[in-house]
């Protein structure tokens, strides 16, 4: 593993949102609260691999996606794209970088402009980045994209409402590919789809990766989807990465109590497998002014005195795996 193979590296990435209370709480002199959506996470993605980012609602997955595309600005931390500091990019350089990083959103009903035809939706990114000039050239490229994502020539002049959810997600993928990116971020790209369609889209992601040598940051809350698509996985819990490692090893032998709990809670589509159960106490902790120490405090079966005091750092445990837990 050399630095040259690392496409994206994230270090100490942090996003805190300050919650401004209403006028009454201000008059009462209450302190403003801080929501620590992403709280110092480190990860890297090698060229050509898929990193799966998994966690429950509110754990900071989507905020992470928005931070690494600079759709929102981080509070602290570093993001390097191919060795360059993404956060220091000028507007012009950032525009170029956007060509290298594309994103596919969760809901294909709100991510496509309902007033534009598919031709417009797919050719506009090429125009913006100066990748196609004449109408014929654009048209040819769009047709090629449609063919590649499994849609037909007849679809080119239609509007998004004429398509089903699965087809729309194909269009969103085609749009991401239209500028020939290196890194594609999928922010829950299959969670709004029915299972038979979800399988088609997952296969499409795989085929495209092979064909174009794409690198994926794939975000999902569904563990079996993450297991299926990822080479490596990072598990997030309330703003922190608690465990990361190769997908097979992490799923076969989870080390962090939270990863274990997540896996035990998945109902597998096989009645002979053990029934899903929750091995943690209580509910997901809040990211608003969290106490120092481990975020899993108060829920964890392996808790000890140190856990409430010091947040466990992500440490190497061998085989490319890292875990953030005091009591392994």
């Amino acid at each position: 593993m050399t630095a040259a193979d690392t496409l994206l590296r994230v270090k100490g990435l942090t996003k805190h949102f300050t919650l401004h209370g209403d006028i009454y709480s201000k008059l009462a002199g209450e302190k403003t609260q801080v929501l620590k959506a992403v709280d110092g996470i480190d990860f890297h993605i090698q060229r050509g691999e898929t990193l799966g980012l998994v966690g429950e609602s509110g754990c900071g997955k989507s905020t992470t996606a928005r931070l690494v595309t600079r759709l929102i600005e981080p509070t602290a931390g570093e993001v390097t794209l191919k060795g360059e500091d993404l956060l220091a990019f000028s507007r012009r350089r950032l525009k170029e970088a956007r060509k290298e990083i594309q994103i596919v959103f969760q809901d294909p009903y709100s991510s496509l402009n309902p007033r534009k035809t598919i031709m417009h939706i797919l050719s506009r990114p090429m125009e913006i980045h100066g990748l196609a000039h004449s109408w014929t050239e654009k048209r040819e490229k769009v047709l090629e994209l449609l063919r590649r994502v499994g849609l037909g020539i007849e679809h080119i002049d239609r509007y998004p409402h004429e398509f089903s959810g699965g087809q729309r997600q194909r269009i969103a993928i085609a749009r991401a590919l239209s500028v020939d990116p290196e890194l594609v971020i999928g922010d829950e790209p299959v969670s709004a789809l029915d299972v038979s369609i979800q399988a088609q889209i997952l296969n499409l992601f795989r085929e495209l990766q092979k064909e174009f040598g794409l690198t994926y940051l794939f975000i999902a809350h569904d563990l079996s989807v993450i297991r299926h698509i990822s080479d490596r996985v990072a598990v997030m819990y309330v703003g922190k990465i608690v465990e990361t490692g190769p997908a097979a090893a992490l799923f076969d032998k989870p080390l962090h109590p939270y990863t274990k709990a997540l896996l035990a809670a998945v109902p597998e589509a096989d009645p002979t497998k053990p029934a899903p159960r929750l091995t943690l106490q209580g509910e997901v902790s809040t990211p608003i002014d969290p106490p120092p120490g481990c975020r899993l405090c108060g829920r964890c079966p392996r808790e000890s005195a140190v856990c409430a005091e010091i947040a466990p750092p992500l440490v190497d445990v061998g085989d490319g795996r890292q875990v953030a837990c005091h009591n392994l």
Binding site: E56, R206, F251, A265, P267, P271, E283
Partner: protein, 326 residues
Amino acid sequence: MAETVLALDELTVRFRLRRGDLTAVDGVSFSIERGQTFGLVGESGSGKSVTAKAIMRLIPDPPGEIPHGRVLFEGSNILDKSDTEMRALRGRRIGMVFQEPMSALNPVFTVCDQISDALRTNLGLSKAEARERVIELLSLVGIPSPQKRLDSYVHEFSGGMRQRVMLAMALSCNPSFLIADEPTTALDVTIQATILELITGMIERLGMSLLFITHNLGVVAHACDRVGVMYASHIVELGDTREIFANPQHPYTVGLLNSIPRLDGQAKYLTPIAGSVCNMMDPPSGCKFHPRCSHAMDICRREIPRLKEIAPGHLAACHLHDRGTA
């Protein structure tokens, strides 16, 4: 001997729309025995929720209508009942849990107010008695310190806690039958696990029967005794959960099971079902699944296959199984 609590007999629900007629549920028959959990599984638009609403007589008419079929609850046909009789049935004998607790619960009343409303109307309890009972119910569904949460509003609860409130409300008048329409779909997996455990435990403890509607085959595998698989308004396969998962007979069921990525799975490519669900305004002739089916034959385009028993207690609606019975 097992006693049948609910039996659907050729239930058909049609919506008369300006663009034409849409048959959302077409000749659906199944029965649920006392103490049993029946899972109705299928993808969006397959008719699962409409079936549940028809059982509760919650289909708005117009545009909806039930041209034929019967819904027998404890032996009498629900579709023949008057509105007064239905009011006595809903909530008291049949409880219902909906998918989205935030929109099913009333945001401007406290939890205590809305649950005791049902208790006071249906069971004639006094305000104080109802309050006591609400505390009991909330602790039954695992809400910590119910005395404190009693006077909270719904927005003050998390998603999982809201679903517990919904469940408490559905159970408030001791119904013998519960309909749960995607009760865990909006929830995270760890919360889903607790709610599932809670529902199945409750059913067992209170000796109730349950109609469980979901699109999640994993949930069905662990929560249900029997399963009906719906596709485009028809039940295409019906049988014991273990049998359906071990030995699926309808190509759609097989396709669904092959579409799911597995937790232990090494399969790099899934085998999805080709194409997408047919347009219900203009369904294909014959078997509605034939345009997506790799086994489609001539007869599939002409004739709608009937649900036939292919093994004891295991039914499938597919022409592939005609040869065996012919």
